[in-house]
Each structure stands twice: as structure tokens, then as C-alpha cells.
């Protein structure tokens, strides 16, 4: 999104424009706008175009959302339709509380 280093850096791995990947992208954008407005960036990596990148983040399943920053790295696989799980996985609620 922007060149500025964000507090939250997310990366979404997809394999082509499948319904699942589109759904996942929609979902994460929605949650991020809701909870992390202005503090996040999302990088989308299409493994069909860059297969060599799969090894780096140990990607098995698609779609996979990776939280690069803040550490530790967290991964959430699936189309992210379960908001509760995504937020827990990303540790978003906790940060909001603190």
C-alpha cells in the first residue's frame, strides 16, 4: 500500500484468482480496516507467478495469511471467513485492549 513502514505488515499468499483467495483478500481487508486502520499494509503474493517464494515462509496451504510484523510470525490458513479465529490468530484483540 504505502512505502511507509507500518506497525502491522501482513502478507497474503494465494495461488491464482480462485474464489477462496478472493474471499480471503476481501475478509482480511475488512478486518484490517475495522481494527487496524492506518496501521497496516498487505502484500499479496501469487505463488503461481512466484513459486520460489513459497519456501521462505513455509507455505503449504493456500490461502495463507502471514503476520510478518509484529513478531512472532503468525500464520492463518483458509479463506479467513471465521473472523473470531483470524483476530485471535493475529492477536488483534489483545493489542486493542492494551
Amino acid at each position: 500500500m504505502t512505502k511507509k513502514v507500518m506497525e502491522w505488515q501482513l502478507r497474503l499468499y494465494i495461488a491464482g484468482q480462485t474464489p477462496k483467495s478472493i474471499k480471503a483478500l476481501d475478509n482480511i481487508k475488512k478486518y484490517a480496516e475495522e481494527h487496524l486502520k492506518g496501521k497496516y499494509s498487505i502484500e499479496i503474493i501469487d505463488l503461481l507467478l512466484n513459486p520460489q517464494l513459497a519456501e521462505g515462509d513455509q507455505i503449504l496451504a493456500v490461502p495463507t495469511l502471514v503476520r510478518k510484523v509484529p513478531v512472532p510470525i503468525r500464520k492463518i490458513i483458509g479463506d479467513l471467513s471465521n473472523e473470531e479465529k483470524v483476530l485471535v490468530g493475529l492477536d488483534i484483540k489483545k493489542t486493542l485492549v492494551s
Partner: protein
């Protein structure tokens, strides 16, 4: 696929199932050519039974021997660990991967890092695999313990569906794949992978029986091909895995009519052929201390002298000990060792299971390529396994030796029995060997002598005598047969008999001498008598001649007187 090239080769023969050779010693023989080409094979077994090694060897041999690049996808060990683990087995993965022939990809599945939220598939894995395959144009793929996925991911339904898709996809790719899986309670693999991989399933097993461990391999199924169905023992050593060869089912090995000398002075004469046939098996049985090893060493020495290679397996003595002991009877094996004709291999029988011993033998025989093999003693191996196992092992061993036309000598320790026939323990061997010699103690009054005799010798006329032999500082020697009133004599009885003969001869000589002297004396007397008579005769003759002369003188005197008288007148 190269089905066409294979069928071209065997245009006239029947269709041959396309196979990919594994390069694992022995496994290709059991599978009759290798794993199904272009299909996945499941290798399953418990922890530490060699799954990873087997699959790694499959890949590496594929690269080094068949020029088929490979991909190793590890779900368990990081790449660096793998590098080190197999380096000790002589495989240099780093070099192969830098030459772009091998890709090692470690797929780490960390449950704590992964949250599942909604639908997903394993396209990521597929993409990685495809990327790796394309990178080196791999023909062989290994997925090492795919089951780790099950512990990393929750949604079993998706996982199973994806695995099914994965195997299907591998087939479409035309790669020959090995998938490893942990052994489960009731199923072959913990997660029932055998449901998905149905072309070929190989089961590895690591068993400990009576404190001796043996690894075994069995082909559970192999669709579209015949295969060996037994459990085959296999060995992991510094060269990786080797599987035991199959017992040859036919007895159609070539036979030789060459004769090899026994090396023991006098023993050759007990055989009409003058020795053993080349490629035959000789068993020397006997109780403790009957010089079995000595005879075996003599045999080995004789073959070495003829510049033939001998492999000597000593299960009781170390090579140095054997050489020293043989030197004490004037047999020096050391030069043969130095010249490379003799190789002595010592190990404790309990070091390995039976089958492993057989494998070791086989390996050494392959490396050293001897014409003669000595196993001293084979009975020590028997203590390692049950009768049945021993027999099957010996059958395989003897088969292997016969196929290679190797003359083999086994020694066997038998229990001391009253019977002249050796005990039943040897029955397992007896029907398999061609020539059977027995050395035994012949106990007499206060002494123990060694006797050797031939129980059987296939295809060779042989002596039926029990020959006594002695071991001196100059070695072993068969003594001439000494007949006594009650049969053949040995030891002290032999000595007594010899002494008696000597005394008798001496007596006779004395008698003869005495007679000679008597005759001499008689002649002396006769000659003296003759002399006396001669003297007497001479003196009589002399007297007569004196008389005659006197008579003559008187006559002449008388005539002279008469004429003188006439003149005076």
C-alpha cells in the same frame, strides 16, 4: 514414459511392467526391476527402521547411477540435518544439490504458528513441489513422512482430500515417488496412507529377537507385477542399505570337475579324485580340540600357495591369534595375508543376527572375490538363531557360494557323544554339504588320539578308514594305517604294535647272527681238520720218498761195488 524404449528392447518378449531401479542392493532383485515407474510407492515402518535412508538412497542412486534427478521433500528433518545424517553414509548431498541434480526442501509444519480460519487447500505444497521438480527436471520424488501434516493441520477432511489429489497429481507428473509413513496400530500407516497409494507398498520392520536385532523388508503389494513375497532381512552399514538376496529356487548352478587339493598331507589320498571338487561344500565336524581349525587353515594355506584368493571367517579367533596359533605348527599364513591372497575376517557371532552375518559374508565375497571361503566355525552361527532360521540361512549361504563356484569349507563343533555319528545339531547342515569329514577323538587307555574319516563325499570314491593323524611342530600328518589283531591301531596301541614288531625283528636278526657264527666256527673246525689230515698225508708221503731214496742209494752202491770188484780182478 520410456515404456516404448523398454518394449523396443524386448520386442519379442512379453510386456514388461515399466520399473525404476532403486539402486538399493538386493531390492531391485526382489521387486524384479525396481519400483513402479511414474507411480507413487509407500514405504512404511516403525521409528528407526530406515525409511528415510531407503528413500534417500533411492534418490541418490537415481542421480549417480541412472542420471535421474530427484526432489526430497522432508516434513521432519531440516535440510542441514539431512545433509549431515547421510554424509556419514558416504552420500554428499551438498555437491549433488549444487550440481542442480537434487533439491531438498524442508517443509516445516508448526502447529503453534498456524491458525485455521475457513476453507483452504494445499496448493502451496503442490506449487513448491512442482517448482522443485521443474528446477532440476526431477524424475524421482520423495515425500518423507507426509503424516507430519496430520499433526500440523486440524481439518482432516481437507487434508485427506488434498492427499488424494496429491498422489493423483504425482502420477500425472510421471515422477516415481516414495512416500514414507509411520507404522500404525492396526493399519500399515498411522493415517491410513495406504488407501491413497495403492501401487506398491513396502513395509520395513525392525525386530529384536533374543537381544539380536534384525531389520526386515517385505513387499506388501505391488500392483501389476510379480515380486518376492517373503520377508527379506536388510542391513544398514557404511554403504547404506543392502537387502539380502533371494534364495535361488532352482538348483541349476554350473558344476566343475576341477579338483582342489586338501592341503593336508595324506588326506588327498583318501579321496579317489585326490581332493575336493572345486565349488563344493566341505563340512568338517568334530568335538572340541580335534584340529578342525588346523585342517581348515591348511586348506586355506594350500589354496593361497596356488595363488588363489581365500576368505577366512573366524568366529572364534582374531586374525592375529589365528596366525600365531598356526605358526606354532609351522604354518605361516602371514605372507598370504600380506600378498593379498588371504583375508581373515573375525567377528563375534552374537554381533549380528544370522541374516546380517549372511549379508556381511555376501558383501565381503563380492568385494574380495575369493575362490575359496572358510567359515570357522559355522556352529557358532547356529547359536544365534533357531534351527529353522539357521537352516534357511545356510541354504542361502550355500546357494550363494555355489552360484559363484566358490569352494567352501565349514567347520562345525559337535557335542561329545558316544556314537560315532555326529550329533543331530549338524543335521541341518549335513544334507546341504557335498563332502563331510569328521575328526574325532579316539579314546584309549589313558590317552586321546585324533582320527579323521569321511562320512560322505558326493561323486568321489573315498576311503572308509579312520585315519589317525598327528600334529607336530612341523604340522599335521596323516599316519599310515596300522593293522592290529582287532582292527586299526592308534596311539599307544600303534606304538606298542610297532615296538613288538621291532623286537621280533631284532630277535630274528640275533638268531640269524648266531647261526652265522656257528657255521663260521664249524667251517673253522673243518678247515683245521683238513689241515691236520693234509699234514699227516704229507708226512707219510715224505717218509715214503725217504725210503725210496735210501733204497736207490743202496742199489747204486751195490752196483758200484760189483763193478769195482770186477776191475780188480
Amino acid at each position: 514414459m520410456s515404456t516404448s524404449s523398454k518394449t523396443k528392447k524386448h520386442a519379442s518378449s512379453v510386456f514388461k511392467f515399466p520399473k525404476t531401479p532403486t539402486g538399493v542392493e538386493g531390492l531391485d532383485e526382489i521387486t524384479e526391476g525396481g519400483l513402479p515407474k511414474g507411480r507413487p510407492t509407500l514405504v512404511c515402518g516403525g521409528a528407526g527402521c530406515g525409511k528415510t535412508l531407503l528413500s534417500m538412497q533411492f534418490l541418490i542412486k537415481g542421480i549417480t547411477e541412472f542420471n535421474e534427478p530427484g526432489v526430497f521433500m522432508s516434513f521432519e528433518e531440516p535440510s542441514a540435518d539431512l545433509f549431515i545424517n547421510v554424509k556419514s553414509l558416504g552420500f554428499d548431498l551438498e555437491r549433488l544439490s549444487s550440481e542442480k541434480k537434487l533439491v531438498i526442501d524442508h517443509v516445516r509444519v508448526e502447529r503453534s504458528e498456524i491458525e485455521e480460519a475457513g476453507e483452504y487447500d494445499l496448493d502451496g505444497l503442490f506449487i513448491r513441489l512442482e517448482y522443485a521438480i521443474n528446477k532440476v527436471k526431477a524424475k524421482r520424488v520423495v515425500l518423507d513422512t507426509l503424516e507430519s501434516l496430520f499433526s500440523g493441520l486440524d481439518n482432516q477432511a481437507i487434508l485427506r482430500a488434498e492427499l488424494r489429489r496429491l498422489f493423483h497429481w504425482l502420477k500425472e507428473k510421471g515422477v516415481t515417488a516414495i512416500i514414507t509413513g509411520e507404522r500404525g496400530e492396526a493399519t500399515l500407516t498411522r493415517q491410513g496412507l495406504e488407501e491413497y497409494v495403492s501401487d506398491c507398498v513396502i513395509l520395513l520392520d525392525h525386530r529384536v529377537i533374543e537381544q539380536v536385532s534384525t531389520r526386515r523388508l517385505r513387499i506388501v503389494k505391488y500392483r501389476g507385477s510379480t515380486h518376492g513375497t517373503n520377508e527379506y532381512p536388510f542391513l544398514i552399514d557404511e554403504n547404506g542399505i543392502s537387502v539380502l538376496p533371494i534364495t535361488s529356487l532352482k538348483l541349476d548352478n554350473e558344476v566343475s570337475s576341477d579338483v582342489v587339493s586338501t592341503g593336508v598331507p595324506g588326506l588327498n589320498e583318501m579321496f579317489k579324485s585326490g581332493g575336493f571338487y572345486r565349488g563344493s561344500n566341505i563340512l568338517i565336524s568334530g568335538t572340541a580340540g580335534t584340529a578342525k581349525t588346523t585342517i581348515a587353515a591348511y586348506f586355506a594355506n594350500e589354496q593361497c600357495r596356488k595363488k588363489e584368493r581365500v576368505l577366512y571367517f573366524a568366529f572364534e579367533e582374531s586374525p592375529q591369534q589365528l596366525i600365531r596359533n598356526m605358526r606354532s605348527i609351522g604354518l605361516d599364513l602371514e605372507p598370504h595375508v600380506k600378498k593379498g591372497y588371504l583375508q581373515i575376517h573375525s567377528s563375534r557371532p552374537s554381533l549380528n543376527g544370522l541374516e546380517l552375518h549372511l549379508l556381511t559374508l555376501r558383501k565381503l565375497i563380492k568385494e574380495f572375490n575369493p575362490t575359496t571361503v572358510v567359515i570357522d566355525p559355522i556352529s557358532n552361527l547356529i547359536t544365534v538363531g533357531s534351527d529353522h532360521e539357521v537352516r534357511s540361512m545356510l541354504v542361502r549361504l550355500i546357494d550363494m557360494l555355489k552360484i559363484n563356484n566358490i569352494t567352501a569349507m565349514f567347520t562345525s563343533l559337535s557335542k561329545q557323544t558316544e556314537h560315532i555319528r555326529p550329533d543331530l545339531g549338524e543335521e541341518s547342515v549335513s544334507s546341504l554339504v557335498d563332502t563331510w569329514l569328521t575328526v574325532r577323538d579316539i579314546e584309549g587307555v589313558g590317552e586321546r588320539n585324533r582320527g579323521i574319516y569321511i562320512i560322505k563325499s558326493r561323486g568321489v570314491g573315498h576311503s572308509n578308514q579312520v585315519r589317525e593323524f598327528v600334529i607336530t611342530d612341523d604340522g599335521i600328518r596323516l599316519l599310515d594305517v596300522e593293522f592290529g589283531p582287532n582292527g586299526i591301531l592308534t596311539g599307544a596301541a600303534r606304538k606298542t604294535s610297532e615296538l613288538n614288531k621291532k623286537i621280533a625283528a631284532l630277535k630274528l636278526q640275533n638268531e640269524l647272527d648266531r647261526k652265522d657264527r656257528e657255521i663260521y666256527r664249524k667251517r673253522k673246525v673243518l678247515e683245521a681238520n683238513i689241515d691236520a689230515l693234509k699234514n699227516e698225508f704229507e708226512s707219510v708221503e715224505e717218509e715214503l720218498s725217504i725210503l725210496k731214496a735210501t733204497e736207490d742209494l743202496h742199489a747204486r752202491l751195490a752196483t758200484n761195488n760189483t763193478s769195482n770188484l770186477k776191475k780188480k780182478k
